[in-house]
Amino acid sequence: MSALLPILTLATSLLAAGVIFMLPETSKTTRTAVNLVAALGKLGLATVMIIGVAEGKTYEATLTLLPGLQLILRVDALALLFLALSAFLWLLTTIYAISYLGDGPNLSRFFGFFSLCVAATTGVALSGSLITFFVFYELLTLSTWPLVVHKGDGASLAAGRRYLIYTMSGSAVLLAGILLLEGGLGPIEFARHGSLAAGDPGVLTGAFVLMVAGLGVKAALVPLHGWLPSAMVAPAPVSALLHAVAVVKAGAFGIIRVVYDVYGVALVNELGVGLPLAIVASVTIVYGSLRALQQHDIKRRLAYSTVSQVAYIVLGTGLFGPYATIGGVVHLVHQGLMKITLFFCAGALAERIGATRIEHLDGAGRRMPLTMAAFSVAALGMIGVPPLAGFVSKWYLGIGGLQAGQHWVLAVLAVSSLLNAAYFLPLLHRAWFVAPPADARPAVASREGPAWLIGPGLVTAAAVVAAGVFAGMPFSPLGWSTLIVTRNYAP
């Protein structure tokens, strides 16, 4: 039983991908059914394992590739955090995508790769060794590319090319780092407090830099972030996938694994590579926000906001100290909930009233009140307004910075929150307090939109509120992150 559950969890989306690829384009109902059954199944399995792990059970499955080299799926608390997030958001994104894409072309291909993408994310979450992580990390790159170029027009293909150049180079650097380490030490598994015994500090530092740089491409750390804004041409569900469910998260998650489960806090301190990482993250936070301020396209503004927000996770990782770590880890979930809400809403706004630029938002609150309400909640959460999810993250990061003796972190957080407010509040102001232009395009229909398009955003917005209000509960994202940190990373 303990080996079966992780395999089944991976299989839900992997099998769904295989089945969907084979379905003819016209069998929409079957495709929808397969998608939803798989997504619900994965969510159910994740729930079972969350309860199990809370009780202290372990789940592990291995496949021997070569003597001594194994693919390992190992379920620990951190893995479950990411798994539960991606399973929950996969379900909602699938519902959203079914409505958003409607009867467009190549849908079997789209949903096939979409499921494959989620399978890869599951694998990334459950990886128990560096090589397993790499296998799924690379699978994620490959399965997202067809989604980025889904429209098949010139702009999509150009964005796809850019995406590949960045991510494939990143993976190559990551692989070099992994093998530089494993060349001297043999295959490396993730373990509590790190698994490295001893080694040449030069090699260890070199491998750390290579691995973090490789992971930093997907995590969109400045200056490796260029692919993310240009990938905006992809359909909105793909943006949700890139920004919240899978891709940038995989990068950030990988950095957490490398820092805590490969090197361990003690060794990272000894090598002195934690502080530079925190500084890079801080630069990214401020730079991403500044660039977001300059964008007038809604999705581009959101993209630069992601650059900035994902770096919070890395910041928490680089600072150490239990509070900072909790703040970073919990932001993995909080950022996902908030950002996916924003993208769901941005997609709905573009679809229903053609609003793609900030000036189009005038009066949008009156025309699409539910959507704009959800958008506003998420935006306020991003700014860090209590008691929303984003506030909890920033609070823990701030305390963590003080604990670590890095007082400048407070300044970074303050500046970033001001900038967040500066680039989100004008949108809310336009939507709620400016009258719609006289020549506004009439809404497509009298209703705000189909339930499958509007509903997912409302659910995630509610989750943003709940994650903040109920942060003190044991199974809230914060409660679970605290469990992860006290169980695994506390000295």
Binding site: P67, G152, R161, L164, G183
Partner: protein, 505 residues
Amino acid sequence: MPAIFADLVAPAVPWAAISVVLPLAAALIAALLGRHAHRLAIPTALAGLAVAALATTQVARHGVIEIAVGGWKPPLGIALRLDGLGCAFLLVIALVSAGVMLFARAGFGAAPDGSETRRGYVFWPLLFCTIGGLAAIAVSGDLFNLYVGLELLTVTAVALVGLDGKPAALAAAIRYLLFALLGSLLYLLGTAILYLVHGTLDIRLLAGAASTDGATLTAVALMTAGLMAKAALFPLHGWLPPAHASAPAPASALLSALVVKGPFIIMLRLWFEIAPAIATPFVAQGLGALGAAGILIGSLLALRQHRLKLVIAYSTVAQLGYLLLVFPLAGGSGEQQPWTAGAWTGIIFHAMSHALAKSAMFLAAGAMVEAIGDDQIERLDGIGQHLPIATFAFGLAAVSLMGLPPSGGFTGKYLLLSAAFASGQWWWAVVMIGGGLLAAGYLFRPLSHLLAERHQPGDLVVVARSRQTIALGLAALSILLGLLSLGPYQLLQIGRPGAAAEGLS
């Protein structure tokens, strides 16, 4: 039933010999059958797979199998010798040739009115002979037998290149012939010297006798040069792209996947089994440098091609370059590595995976060429919708060729990269990682077109789904080789030469 099975794979059963006789017999029958020859495809493919599987089981159970042909032991007689490496090669031959035969049934049968065509008549005997030559190389235990296999391979492969009879194809075939003949001459000369000096051509006996004397050195140098010409290894690769691009797609698949690997297997036997002692660090690094040059130049040229089949052919030049990295990297296993002979095993994984992926890619390209009528990359827009299975096959094969996980190509690359870092020769790692990125560059270009919107006018020819599926099957096998790599790994350790673990001195 198990008892019968045990008898079937007993050491005395000459599966090694049967694996050579079977395709040659098929060639004879095909010549007699004429326009019905394509009917041999399915039975021969199945029989080939069965024989390869039985031979492999035999070796897995009983270790290296040695058969003295006619009952005469070496040095008087000739020995067939089947080890793990030979089995791996036999299995890949059986799989790839099965795919090629099934795919070619539609294109190389009788004309629509039932009459015989030159193309249909000539193709099958040539194909079967090529497979026979490859099998002979897999099972031969002495240098002269290897020469015979090599010659059979060359003659039939050249004919396959010129099969279409167009001027460009004939020119490419002639060029190939010149290189191949030069290679044969050099190889034969080296063999003669070895025979003169040591009085035997049996690999195992030579391994005991060969030393670092000048004659052996000259012989090995000559043979290596000859084999490099036949294997299209840099700088003797010039003949390959036009030849493999102008052959009919199923023939290209066989040529790129296997025919160029035959000579390399002989090179491995020569250096690692017969004369590991004569390699100096300079020689090993030098051969590695030629391989690196092949990887970089082949990839850069592949990036510049406008025809799909030329991209795939230049990719073969690049991928063959990796093979030469075995010379500097063999023996570079660190103390912490759980596997010995990592680089040697890795290179064979790379070769097997490349064979499966490249044949899949050429067959998928064949389906695309049939659909649009030519192989201009610019005209591939939107073919993904028309040929989804072939496109998927192309994508999967590309994953393996780029060395991305999970694929046989990745397993090979992992072993090679580990050896490079463990032995401190990081520059080879840089070359390999760079080569992987370049491969992504030249393979994602056609893939982008396949997924793009279609604007070109003109109708697309329908290609049967079953034929596209053959390409997908081969591509899937190259992926599976990476996931189920433990079995192949253990097979390759059977009869592995000592120098593979210790490295060339």
